[in-house]
Amino acid sequence: MRRGAGIAFLAIVLTWATWAWGGEKKEVRIWHTETEPQSVAAFQQIINDFEKLHADITVKQEALAWGDLEAKLTAALAAGAPPDASHGQAVTCASFYAKGLLRDQEDIAAAIGRDNIWEAVRRQCLHDGKYYGIPHSAATSLLIYRKDVFRQKGLKPPETWDEFIKVAEAMMERDASGRVTRYGLSLPGVGLFINIAVGELTKANGGRLFDLKTGRPTFTEKQVVEVLDFYKKLSATVLPPGWLGHGYLDTFANLATGKAAMLYQGYGRGTGYIEKYSPKEMADPEHFGVMVKPHGPSGKETAAQIDAEPWMIFKNARHPEEAAAFLKFFFKEENYIKYLHTVPIHLLPTLKSVRVNPAYQANETVRKWKEWQDMQYRYFETAQAKPTLIVEWDDLRLPFGLEILGSGIVPDMVTDAVKGMPSAQAAAKAQARAEELITKLGHKRW
C-alpha cells in the first residue's frame, strides 16, 4: 500500500516537472544602450505588446551604459552566455561577424524592406552582401556651441582647427582676478570618447588609422600626428585642466551650466540635458546651437562620428530566432516611432519610410530643435560621418577594430601627447603597441 502511494507520488511529481519544463516560456534577453528612463519605458511597452502576441516568449531588456557595453558583451561571450540580441559599435559587429558569432538578419531586412533601410547607415554591419546588424537608430556627433555668446562676440564659424581654437578662446570668460569662469570647450576624457574623437579628427584631417591592404596601423602618419598636436593645443588653451577626468555627462553639465562654451563631442540627446539643466530662459536653440565641425591642416572637409549601433543577434544564444521575431516587431512603424520619440533629436530613424511618416514628424521636440536634426542629416548625406575608429567604410573589413577600441592604445596615445610627450613619439609608441596587439591576435598582414 505504502509502496504504491510512493510510486503514485513520484509519478505526479515527474508529470508536473515535465509539464513545467515543457511549458516554460522562452526567455529572450536583449541588451541595449538607451538607458534614459523614457526609452526603457517605451521599449518595455513594445515588449509587452510583443508578448501579448507571442504567449510562449518573454523578453527581458537590459539597458547598459554605452561605454560598458563592449566589455560586458565580451565577458558574456567568454562565459558562453551572450544575450540573444544586443546593440554594439560597428567595429564590434564587424569583429563578431569575422569570428562567425552572428546570425544574419536578411529576414529582418526583408520584413522591413531592404530598400527602406537608410543608405547612410546600411553599411554599419553589412558583410558579404548580407545584413548582420541593422541600426536601431541613427545619429552623429555634433559641435554644440553657446549661440548667444558666439553672437555677442561677433564671431564667425571656424573652418579650420586653428580658427576653432581662436573662436573657443574668444568664448572663454574670466573674472576680475583672471580666473576662468567659462572654458572655451569641454571634451570627455573617457577611453571610448577619445577613440571616437581620434577617428573623426583623423578623417577631418584627410588621414587614416589603418592601411586598408595590410591592416597595419598608420598612427605615425602626418595626419594623425597633427591630431595629437591639435589635442595638445586644445588642452593648453581652451579645455579645463582636468578634462581627462571628465565623463561624457560631465561635458554636458559643463555646457548646460555655463562652465563651457562648446562641446566637440556633443550629441542630439544633449537637447534633453539642456532642457533639464539649463536656466529656463536659456534652454532653447537660440542659446544652444550646432555648427559644422572644422577640418584639420591636412584635410579639406569636416567629419563626424556615426552613433548608430546595429542590433546584433548571436547565433549561439539560446533563442536567436525569437530575438529576430522581436526585432521585426520592434521595427514596425507604430512601435518604432514610439521608441524614436523618447529621445527625438538623437534617435533618428533608420527606416526611410519613418522619416516621412507624419506620425513621426508630429513631435514638438523635433520641431523645436530642427537645426540639430538637420546638421546630423547633413553629415549623413554628405558621407562625412563614419562609425567609431572608421575613416573609410572598408575599414570595417579589418577584423581587429574591437580589440583596438578596447585596448586603450589610442586614448593612451592622446594622454601621452597631452601630458607633454612629443606627438610623433606618442604616435610611435602607440603604433608599436597596436602592431604588437594585431600580431598577437594573428591578423598581421604586413
Partner: protein, 333 residues
C-alpha cells in the same frame, strides 16, 4: 614593567594540557604538542571516518580554490582569445612578454603606491578611531553606527559620490576651497595629476571602518585591571597605549594588515570605477585593472591570466615573508 599575561590564550588551554606541558603560560602550540604526545594512533576505520568527514570540505576547497588557480596557471601558458575558441600553447612566453612590458611595470608600481598608502592610513585612522570609540561619551552608539557607513554602502555609490564631490567644475570640495580662499583655481582632483591621491583618499574613507571594527572588538576585551595597574604604576596615557594597548591588539593588527594588504593589492572595483583605465584613469591603472583590460578589452585571456598568476605569486611570497617577519604576532593572531 612586566608584560601583561595573555588571558585569552590561557583561557583556551585546558588544565590537563597545561599540566602535561609543564604548566607554562603557554599557547596552542604547547597544547597541540601535548595532545599529540598523549594520544594513541587511530585505527584504520577511524582514519577512514575522519577522511570521510573532511571530504566535503576538501572537495569544496579543491573545486572552488585550487581548480581556478590551476586553471589560471594553465591559461597563462596559452595564447588565447578571451571568447573565441582558439588557443595555442606557448609555454612561458606570456611571462617573458610581461617582463619586457612597460605597462606591466607601471601597473605594478601604481598598485604598490595605491596599496601602501591606503593600508597605512586605513590602519592609522582605524586604530585612532577605535581608541576614541572605545571611550565613553554621549552619543557613542550613534557615532559607532555612523562611522561604519562608508564600509556599508556599495562601491559604485561611494565612487559616484566622491566623483561628484571632487569634480573640478561643479564639485563641492572645490567650491569650498575657492570660497574659503584656500586655492585660487579649482583643483582637478580627477585629472591626471591628482587622480591617484583622490582614489587613495576615497579608499581610505571607504575601508578604514573595517580596521576600526576589528580593533574596537579587541579593545573591548582588554581587562580594565591592566589599565588600572598601569595607572597605579604612574604610566602616562602614551605609555599605557604603547605598553598595554598595543601589545594587546598586535595579534589582531597582524591579521587586519594581512587582510587589508591582500584586498587592497587586488582591489579592482573602486579603482576601475574611478578611472575606467583610460584618460586620467591611466594614472590609476593598477595590476588588477591591467589584468582585467588584457582579458576583457584586449581580449588576451592568456596574458590576463599570466597577470593574475603574477599577482597571486606576489601575494603568496609577501604573505610568507610577512609571517616570517612577524612570527610572534602570527602565533597570537
Amino acid at each position: 614593567m612586566p608584560g601583561p599575561p595573555d588571558l585569552r590564550l590561557q583561557a583556551v588551554v585546558p588544565p590537563e594540557a597545561s599540566s602535561q606541558a609543564g604548566a607554562a603560560p603557554g599557547g596552542m602550540r604547547l597544547y597541540s604538542q601535548a595532545t599529540r604526545a598523549g594520544a594513541t594512533r587511530p585505527g584504520r576505520h577511524q582514519q577512514f571516518v575522519g577522511l570521510l568527514t573532511i571530504a566535503p570540505a576538501l572537495i569544496l576547497i579543491l573545486s572552488l580554490i585550487l581548480y581556478p588557480v590551476a586553471y589560471s596557471i594553465w591559461l597563462s601558458l596559452l595564447e588565447k582569445h578571451s571568447f573565441f575558441p582558439q588557443q595555442r600553447f606557448i609555454g612561458l612566453e606570456n611571462y617573458v612578454y610581461l617582463w619586457g612590458d612597460e605597462e606591466f611595470w607601471t601597473s605594478l608600481w601604481l598598485g604598490v603606491v595605491y596599496s601602501f598608502w591606503t593600508i597605512l592610513f586605513q590602519i592609522l585612522l582605524g586604530v585612532a578611531a577605535a581608541l576614541i570609540l572605545n571611550e565613553s561619551f554621549v552619543g557613542r552608539g550613534l557615532v559607532r553606527g555612523i562611522v561604519l557607513f562608508p564600509y556599508m554602502i556599495p562601491t559604485i555609490v561611494a565612487v559616484i559620490l566622491w566623483k561628484w564631490l571632487l569634480n573640478d567644475t561643479y564639485g563641492v570640495v572645490n567650491y569650498w576651497l575657492l570660497a574659503l580662499g584656500i586655492v585660487r583655481d579649482p583643483i582637478s582632483w580627477l585629472g591626471t595629476d591628482e587622480i591617484m591621491l583622490s582614489t587613495i583618499v576615497m579608499s581610505i574613507w571607504q575601508f578604514f571602518p573595517f580596521v576600526l571594527l576589528s580593533i574596537l572588538a579587541r579593545l573591548q576585551t582588554i581587562p580594565e585591571e591592566l589599565y588600572e595597574a598601569a595607572k597605579v604604576d604612574g604610566a602616562s596615557a602614551l605609555r599605557r597605549f604603547t605598553h598595554v594597548t598595543l601589545p594587546q591588539i598586535r595579534g589582531i593588527l597582524f591579521v587586519v594588515i594581512l587582510l587589508r594588504s591582500i584586498w587592497m593589492f587586488t582591489k579592482f572595483d573602486t579603482v576601475w570605477l574611478m578611472g575606467e583605465g583610460a584618460g586620467a584613469g591611466r594614472y590609476i591603472r593598477t595590476l588588477p585593472v591591467y589584468a582585467y583590460m588584457r582579458t576583457l578589452t584586449y581580449y588576451q585571456a592568456g596574458l590576463g591570466a599570466a597577470l593574475a598568476v603574477i599577482m597571486f605569486a606576489i601575494l603568496i611570497v609577501s604573505t610568507v615573508l610577512y609571517f616570517g617577519l612577524f612570527r610572534e604576532e602570527a602565533d597570537i593572531g
